[in-house]
């Protein structure tokens, strides 16, 4: 059992981070801490994607000796790289070496990294907006504790005026 966990330790980290993040979001009553939890949660997904892209024993996806062989060879290389990129979605390809017809080098799948670059940008934007909102909430309510804010709103709802 332990060997399985250690072999897939990055998945274990993904799960731990994911659960920690979600728990922090739901359990904390402080608006900043919630955002911290959200960030941890999103980071776990980045790790998950990067883990998918790694092929065991794979090189960085850089053309090897492509430029010296003339244009014909380079094109062939491109074509095989394209099919390979499409096929190597998971680690299944890494173990089945015969799938790499044409390509001499075993390389990691770069696509998940590109995807996750987008997701990181999205995460930063979300965090920025969230923090901006917390700043505004602090200005208006004078607190970033959810309980205090709910209390103020509750009194406002009952009386229709500011407390």
């Amino acid at each position: 059992m332990f060997s399985t966990i250690f072999e897939n330790f990055n998945y274990a980290i993904v799960i731990i981070l994911m659960m920690t993040g979600l728990y922090v979001v739901f359990s904390s009553r402080n608006l900043i801490k919630k955002l911290v939890g959200l960030s941890v949660f999103q980071t776990s997904v980045f790790l998950l994607y990067i883990t998918i892209g790694k092929v065991a024993g794979g090189q960085p996806p850089i053309l090897v000796g492509g430029h010296g062989e003339g244009s014909g060879g380079a094109e062939e290389h491109h074509a095989s790289a394209a099919t390979n990129m499409l096929a190597s979605g998971g680690e299944a390809v890494a173990t089945g070496g015969s799938a790499h017809h044409g390509a001499e080098v075993l390389y990691s799948n770069p696509l998940p990294h590109v995807l996750i670059l987008t997701a990181i940008v999205v995460g930063v934007a979300t965090l920025a907006i969230g923090l901006a909102l917390v700043v505004r909430i602090r200005e208006v309510y004078g607190s970033i504790e959810e309980d205090v804010i709910n209390e103020i709103d509750y009194r406002y709802n009952l009386e229709g005026t500011d407390a």
Binding site: G90, V122, I129
Partner: protein
């Protein structure tokens, strides 16, 4: 056909790309425009172009055939492709038309609710939100969906928060929406990651083909399905995941509430449909189990729970927000039947509800604009104080209940028929019960408005003060449209049927 032939051919060919790129680019420019009036005019022009383009695309699909637009000329499995078919063109047209109507309505409304220096950025965020929603609906690439989902969500958080100058609770609502919306989007992207592990591709049609070859795939795609359904469920306010919706609808500026209510949840529901029926397939055991038992059950609970909650609200906007949750339940019930008739009825209700709710929220916005009214207790005498606005509200309300010769009746009738054909008599009963509950919460507002006299302030009865024409026009357009659909629904029913055919018939 005449109308279609008057379109230049490039507009039809590149319509899919134009619909997204135009609002996205112009949105960026709008944010730095110096004057709010200029920003409004630019927004109006852009949304008008979008409406014209989407109409052309709609007609093209109707008369010719579905088309696949290859972004940058790259072929589907590698490049990003945009799909234009019977399933999404009605929704594209709906989003564009709503954006245009909201913009018209926005001139007086935004001026009243948003601080002057924030108005140009407000329109910019709105345009980017429109681009995001259109992108979600048009794209045929699964990761692209996530990107557009977040583009539209992030701009929506900003738009909701802009309500702070009117009601400070908007900030809290926007914050809650941000937390839950981000969790939803992240769940969705986790699901996509698992799908990518299983299939090694991100093109939706390609994923669909590979999964069908694998006969549903292993446990990985099962997990992926779960994450995707929960993630999209958060975005479309499926019953237990609806907590963000009432606050966001109640405290956002009226303009934003209308746009959110009529498009945002609908686009997410569309994605759910596309993922269930075209990426995954109801022939997989886990998919049909979730659809039949989970979605149907949650839909029915949402119908009853949402309607009951709506009855006990004191705030008119919150009432209608909870009613929206109930209406999502109707649509989910239609999806849950997973028959051609049920899907068509669900899709029909999606279109009709967008029209009805937009009309109702337009009217609520006008009440606030003239008298600062949001609580139902203050509705007393509105029938005399704002007869035209209240008239539109009444038509919308009757349509929401499902009185014969209104749009709501048509779609509910179709739903009941589909339920009976599926052999689910109990579902028909739930629909009727939920409609009776709707009579109570709509009736409460109408009673106050028509049967109580206007309040007196300092011994004088409050004077009649009708909403400005810019607000009345979009409001009445939608109210009359909902009646027109009720009288003769052929066009809309045909569109919904076309969408259901695409879903049942399989991919492009």
């Amino acid at each position: 056909m005449d109308l279609l032939s008057s379109y230049p051919s490039w507009l039809i060919t590149h319509g899919a790309a134009l619909l997204i790129i135009l609002p996205l680019l112009v949105g960026a420019i709008t944010s730095v425009l110096p004057r709010e009036r200029l920003a409004w005019i630019v927004t109006l022009i852009v949304t008008l172009i979008c409406v014209v383009t989407s109409l052309g695309v709609l007609l093209d699909v109707y008369f010719n055939d579905a088309q696949l637009y290859k972004m940058g000329g790259w072929d589907p499995p590698h490049g990003i492709s945009y799909i234009i078919d019977g399933l999404n063109t009605p929704l594209i047209f709906l989003i564009c038309a709503m954006a245009l109507l909201c913009t018209i309505y926005g001139l007086p409304s935004v001026a009243a609710e948003v601080e002057p220096k924030k108005r140009a950025p407000f329109y910019a965020a709105f345009l980017i939100g429109v681009a995001g929603l259109l992108g979600m609906v048009v794209t045929g690439d699964a990761f692209n969906v996530f990107v557009f989902l977040e583009v539209s969500s992030i701009s929506t958080y900003v738009l909701v928060a802009m309500g702070a100058s009117r009601d400070r609770r908007a900030l809290k609502a926007a914050y809650n929406y941000l937390i839950l919306g981000s969790i939803g989007a992240t769940f969705f992207v986790i699901g996509l990651g698992f799908l990518y592990m299983e299939t090694g591709t991100l093109n939706m049609a390609d994923i669909g083909n590979i999964l069908r070859d694998l006969d549903g795939g292993s446990r990985v795609s099962l997990v992926a399905f779960g994450f995707i359904v929960v993630g999209l469920g958060l975005k479309l306010a499926m019953f237990p995941l609806h907590m963000w919706l009432p606050g966001a609808y109640a405290h956002a500026p009226s303009f934003v509430t209308v746009f959110l209510a009529s498009t945002a949840t609908k686009a997410a529901l569309y994605l759910l449909l596309r993922f269930i029926f075209m990426v995954f397939d109801p022939s997989f055991e886990y998919v049909i189990t979730v659809v039949t038992y989970v979605l149907t059950a949650l839909g029915c609970i949402a119908m009853l729970f949402g309607s009951l909650q709506a009855i006990f609200q004191t705030d008119a906007r919150r009432t209608l927000a909870f009613s929206s949750i109930a209406q999502v339940g109707y649509m989910l019930l239609g999806v849950g039947m997973a028959t051609g008739l049920g899907l068509a009825a669900g899709y029909l209700h999606l279109l009709n509800h967008a029209v009805i709710k937009a009309a109702l929220f337009f009217a609520l916005g006008a009440f606030w604009y003239r008298y600062g009214i949001t609580r139902i207790d203050d509705f007393a005498g509105l029938g005399k104080m704002m007869p035209w606005t209240m008239g539109a509200f009444t038509l919308g309300g009757l349509s929401l209940i499902g009185v014969p010769f209104t749009a709501g009746f048509t779609s509910k009738l179709n739903l009941v028929e589909a339920a009976l054909q599926r052999g689910w008599a109990w579902a028909a009963i739930v629909i009727v019960v939920a409609s009776i509950l709707a009579i109570i919460y709509i009736g409460r507002m109408l009673m106050a408005a028509y049967f109580q006299s206007p309040p007196e302030i300092d011994g004088e009865v409050v004077a009649k003060n009708e909403a400005p024409l810019m607000m009345l026009i979009p409001m009445w357009l939608l109210a009359l449209l909902s009646i027109a659909i009720g009288v003769n629904a052929d066009l809309v029913v045909e569109a919904a049927q076309g969408a259901a055919d695409v879903l049942i018939g399989g991919g492009v």
